[in-house]
């Protein structure tokens, strides 16, 4: 019945089936929404956060999705600035993924602060020394950029596009997309970095603190690299997942492999510096504050295995897999590497968030434990559900994949 709204010449599942699917996802969304409203009403006392863990699942989740959403700005940068034309096959998807990740992250942040009514203080009374201020500015600005990048795609929807004004608008926006891509790349680089900087400047948290260059601790640069090292491949994984679910070819493997190569290259650079950084941290910084590498870990849940998983299994390994053409060009291995990559980066964000504040700094204090409660899970789930909803709608009604028509003849 909604066939008239489909992009030209493509097949979509029956409306009933679609409604069913959307209903299923909406259930999660609504549950999360309930949790969110409860949090606004009662305050974050309803979460599992406490005096030791002011940061928890939410911040980890934010950092992870923002890193994974980095595909948008980086691919955009390559496509529009470095003019790698082949990326046009997947650029739309990266934009949508980016948009979902960033808008989602912002929603979580408004929940995460104790006084949402004052959220705007971040702009009105900014502290220019705070990495967080920088994050607030760039994330919101970049989110706007993503909206601008998303709009033309929406306007190209078959029916809307019939309206001359909208048609021209979309066209003109496309023409200037390079500009937005440029701005996006700039903004994004900075806040990805600042997210890392946020932890790097924590002088009281030896696990996270890093020396650095000028005002930027090393984590600043490591976070940028790690983001671009996983963003592109995450888009590929999303795309592949959609292909598996819809049973239609959406992007040719050549493009995916290219994305893999891009991610792989960046990941390699990242992991190289990450290892250097970790080495210097363990052998130089820690002793200078009277601590040892072993003191940074505890038991199983804060064990060393986490760091090794992050750096070796989910860092070095996927990096090698992705830069080796023979491996990269095998779909299964590409996806495996991609998954490892994404896990590694998310784990990195988790460790910087939770491990660094779980660790006792006062010699007479103890390790503390944190478990997110239902409210945090539900709201995080809500963001995921929201993402799936947006993605489903976009896939069904928008011309996201230029190759789809040709590939599914």
């Amino acid at each position: 019945m909604d066939r008239a709204l489909f992009p030209d010449g493509v097949e979509r599942c029956s409306f009933g089936k679609f409604v069913l699917w959307m209903g299923f996802i909406s259930a999660f969304f609504l549950f999360g929404l309930y949790a969110m409203l409860l949090i606004f009403y009662k305050g974050i006392v309803v979460t599992g956060l406490d005096n030791y863990f002011g940061f928890g699942l939410w911040i980890t989740f934010d950092l992870a999705v923002i890193a994974l959403g980095a595909g948008a700005f980086f691919t955009g940068f390559l496509k529009y600035i470095l003019k790698i034309d082949q990326l046009k096959n997947i650029i739309n998807l990266t934009v949508i993924v980016g948009f979902i990740c960033y808008s989602g992250a912002m929603l979580v942040l408004t929940m995460d602060i104790g006084q949402p009514i004052r959220a705007w203080f971040g702009y009105w009374h900014p502290n220019v020394h705070s990495m967080l201020t920088e994050v607030i500015f760039c994330i919101t600005c970049y989110c706007l950029v993503l909206v601008i990048e998303f709009v033309p795609l929406v306007l190209e929807q078959k029916q809307l596009n019939k309206i001359p004004f909208l048609h021209h608008l979309a066209h003109n926006m496309h023409v200037n997309m390079a500009l937005f891509a440029g701005i996006g790349a700039f903004l994004s680089t900075f806040h990805q970095g600042s997210l890392g900087g946020m932890y790097g400047v924590l002088q009281g948290r030896p696990y996270a603190f890093r020396e650095g260059f000028f005002i930027w601790p090393w984590t600043f640069f490591l976070f940028v690299l790690s983001a671009v090292g996983c963003g592109p491949i995450f888009t590929v994984l999303c795309c592949t997942l959609m292909e598996k679910m819809t049973g239609r070819k959406l992007v040719d493997f050549k493009t995916k492999a290219l994305m893999g190569k891009i991610a792989g290259t960046m990941l390699t650079v990242y992991i190289f510096f990450k290892i250097l950084d970790t080495w210097a941290w363990a052998n130089n910084y820690l002793p200078s504050v009277g601590m040892t590498f072993d003191q940074m870990f505890y038991g199983v849940i804060y064990g060393k295995w986490l760091m090794f998983t992050e750096i070796i299994l989910c860092g070095l390994v996927p990096a090698i897999m992705l830069i080796t053409p023979s491996i990269r060009n095998n779909p299964t291995l590409l996806y495996t590497a991609g998954i490892l990559d994404c896990i590694g980066i998310s784990l990195n964000r988790y460790l910087f968030t939770v491990q660094s504040i779980a660790m006792p700094i006062l010699p007479f204090d103890n390790w503390q434990f944190y478990a997110p409660n239902w409210a945090e899970w539900a709201t995080s789930g809500m963001i995921v559900a929201y993402g799936i909803l947006v993605m489903s709608l976009s896939y069904r009604y928008l011309p996201v994949f230029p190759q789809e028509r040709g590939m599914n003849k």
Partner: protein
């Protein structure tokens, strides 16, 4: 964020706590709670949700029998000379700008992001999990010194700052110098009430104030000096194991080292 940079002030309010005199009775915690209008919690045993601007830690030498020793360590806000919490605040809700060097925390400005809590290694900062609702009638016993904070903001010890302001007004009224208060003219609630006088308070830069010498005594130390946060709260103990517990010494093995990391 310029770490390692300590802002200098003519007057530097500091505390010297004699750990060999602290019996751990808890009067300071009570006085603090009263002065700063912290609403009592029904389940205060959940230390992960309490608000204790002043918190008395229990230190043990981990020995047994006649060798066993414990020490009690009252922990207010350290009012660091180079605070980890101030530069990270995105909305300038906390700063170290006022003469006296007390780190301010402005509740009406705070948005409750808790970044400062993540930054403070002393756990001196507390998030106000719930609105300050007192048992019926008890709000009549609120102290005029500190505003009641709404839920969702971060709060912490400020050396009973209002007492500082009042001391200055008194000095003005009596024709004294509000910028050069005499020793004892300004006392935080904890220092005033401590039954064994374990807590001394004053201007650590002023020879006239007894803390000037105490802070330089051979047994004086500060918590986590190696981190370079440069606290304005000093501790004194003749017991080496206590001094040793004031910092991490895995590298040097020696206590009392005032070494800042470069």
């Amino acid at each position: 964020m310029a770490h390692g940079a300590t802002k200098e002030f003519k007057v530097t309010w500091g505390m010297v706590i004699d750990l060999d005199k602290c019996t751990g009775c808890g009067a300071c915690m009570t006085a603090c709670q009263v002065e700063n209008n912290i609403a009592p919690m029904v389940d205060a045993s959940n230390k992960m949700r309490t608000l204790s601007w002043m918190l008395v830690f229990e230190l043990s030498n981990k020995k047994s029998g006649a060798e066993a020793e414990v020490a009690y360590l009252p922990r207010p806000c350290m009012q660091c000379g180079n605070p980890a919490c101030v530069p990270v605040c995105p909305v300038v809700a906390t700063e170290k700008n006022e003469e006296g060097g007390i780190v301010s925390q402005i509740y009406p400005r705070c948005i409750g992001c808790r970044y400062c809590m993540a930054a403070c290694p002393y756990h001196a900062r507390y998030f106000n999990w719930e609105d300050p609702i007192f048992p019926k009638g008890m709000e009549k016993a609120l102290s005029p010194s500190t505003s009641a904070r709404p839920r969702g903001v971060v709060e912490k010890c400020n050396f009973c700052h209002t007492r500082f302001m009042e001391a200055k007004d008194k000095a003005r009224q009596e024709g004294g110098n509000p910028e050069g208060l005499a020793d004892g003219a300004y006392m935080p609630a904890c220092a005033e009430i401590c039954p064994t006088g374990a807590i001394s308070f004053g201007d650590v830069k002023n020879k006239e104030h007894k803390v000037f010498d105490l802070a330089q005594g051979k047994d004086a130390f500060r918590l986590l000096e190696k981190l370079g946060l440069n606290p304005q709260v000093y501790y004194v103990s003749k017991r080496e194991w206590v001094r040793k517990l004031g910092d991490n010494y895995a590298a040097t093995g020696k206590p009392g080292a005032a070494k800042k990391h470069s």
